[in-house]
Symmetry: C2
């Protein structure tokens, strides 16, 4: 089998997940990891894979079929993406929903000019959830789409509680409201407020001498983050925190409730994820779409793309004939 | 807006559902229905749409952008499909899984020769369920995929119970086993037997003088259909039957349970459908994919295709830029 030569740019949780996902993919080979840290300090799962300085990446243009960008959406990708899209076929998980059109344009121009494919915003939301929102709306145009998140650790909200004075350690989980989901699944097409869709739950370790009520009150009234939600704050000790709150679970639900036919028959589609590790799953999606990027590039495609532009068969290592026989 | 000119071949439950779905799609216009029955006897939802004899269909080659085939997979489609694929862009719901490769080949040749697109096996299984099986396997290559059907009315099994001596009216529902689904969702990767995955439930109206025990025993021991399942047989009166068992609900679940990362983290994807009407939903899927067929044909594509070959964005009436902005 000819293997696809993959490289990873950025080696945090996402990069490590991508390396593990590539190890599960016999049709791929990880040829290099690039990091802004000192390469000697980066420890991969497979120590035989070379680590190079990000600054040297352009020397490797002939060695890499697809480069997986594993940086963050806030500052890494807006800077790296447009640069790298002019040198490599790339795939990334850019997830700042409001800035996707702008980022798309910033990748499209260099990718077109270089004859490369740049696939952005791959993961689960944006990504698989987006696909399910699209399928739901296209198939049942009369209806409503509901996205619920959780139970999951929210990085941004966890950062926010950790900035509260008196908090030593803290995490925040978003929980979908079960009664709200039940109404949606039942085809009631409810109008749901922010407060009705999700609740928030915090687990906090206090600093010595900090006042629990003050901390709780600061959290639950925090504008933008918590004021619009019903928030529960639990105080625990450092040992329990380390033992029970160190993984990064997440997940959620996309539900399309619609009506078909001349009698307005109720039809409900639901897609859900229950993820033991959010970054590992995102990187598993990235790796499957890296395969699609390779095939698109081989077929002569160029420019920026999203999951909406990718025929699902391209994600699989199987041939179209195999897929028809085994999976249709 | 330029409307896509759609026609329907075959006007049973599926054809009627397709007409209703087209009425929900402002970018489409139903220009004709073709039937093997006397056209004058076919009553559409919209009586302004002309009904023509199937035998005359080739006269309409210049008037139709996409023809939706609404015949059955057993005898209609294998005969009509290859003929019509040489004249029109077509989409159908061929669902005899084992014969898909053969049927694909039978459509591909005439479609290629005529420069048309022939999209086969569209619906929910094959169709949306197939896509979710593919996504699950491609994203989490280490894992197992489980498909559960129901709660749903099974046409084939209902026909089988109605052939039993002493049965006046009868329906059969397939039910997914909740304990089996719970084990799968929990990431246990169970090996499940046929009997463990689904149960079957029949509602029977007896003919006058028929013996309930004899009928029940004939049903539950019927080879191929019921012998491998736990089957419950309920006897009801004709009035209850008419009132409670005349719709065609269906649905089901595709669950991928896999492991990612170096620590084998559990990750679960689930797609499910709860359908008030099986044929209406299938035809809603057909109509969305008819839009994709039109766009593929406009882009110069030809030959047989499946849902695996269709980029999801093509299903939507929205532009790629709109989709990126509103749905990603």
């Amino acid at each position: 089998m000819t293997q696809i030569n993959i490289a990873i740019a950025g080696y945090g949780n996402l990069g490590r997940g991508a390396e593990a996902a590539i190890q599960q993919s016999p049709d791929m080979r990880l040829v290099a990891v690039f990091s802004r840290r000192d390469p000697a300090s980066v420890e991969l799962l497979d120590s035989s894979v070379p680590v190079h300085a990000m600054a040297d990446i352009e020397q490797f243009q002939n060695d890499i079929d697809v480069l997986i960008l594993c940086g963050g959406s806030k500052s890494d990708l807006p800077e790296q993406g447009p640069d790298l899209a002019g040198m490599f076929n790339i795939v990334d998980s850019f997830d700042t929903h409001a800035k996707i059109p702008e980022y798309f344009a910033a990748l499209d121009q260099p990718a077109q000019a270089a004859g490369k494919v740049a696939l952005l915003s791959v993961g689960w939301d944006p990504g698989l959830f987006s696909l399910n929102r699209l399928f739901g709306e296209a198939i049942l145009p009369q209806g409503e789409t509901y996205t619920f998140w959780g139970k999951g650790l929210s990085q941004g909200h966890s950062d926010a509680v950790r900035r509260v004075a008196g908090v030593k350690s803290g995490v925040q989980y978003t929980l979908p409201s079960e009664p709200a989901m039940a109404r949606v699944r039942n085809g009631e097409l409810p109008q749901l407020t922010t407060r009705e869709k999700h609740t928030r739950e915090c687990f906090i370790v206090l600093e010595d001498g900090a006042d629990a009520d003050t901390v709780r009150n600061t959290i639950v009234t925090m504008p933008d983050y918590f004021a619009d939600y019903d928030t529960t704050v639990n105080f625990i000790d450092q040992h329990t925190f380390a033992e029970q709150h160190s993984s990064m679970p997440h997940g959620g639900f996309v539900i399309r409730s619609g009506e078909s036919g001349s009698d307005n028959t109720k039809q409900v589609l639901e897609f859900s994820l229950k993820l033991g590790s959010n970054p590992e799953f995102t990187s598993s999606v990235l790796v499957a779409y890296a395969r699609a990027v390779y095939k698109l590039s081989q077929a002569g495609e160029t420019g920026a793309k999203t999951v909406f532009d990718v025929a699902p068969g391209l994600l699989s290592p199987k041939t179209p004939a195999q897929l028809r026989k085994e999976m249709l």
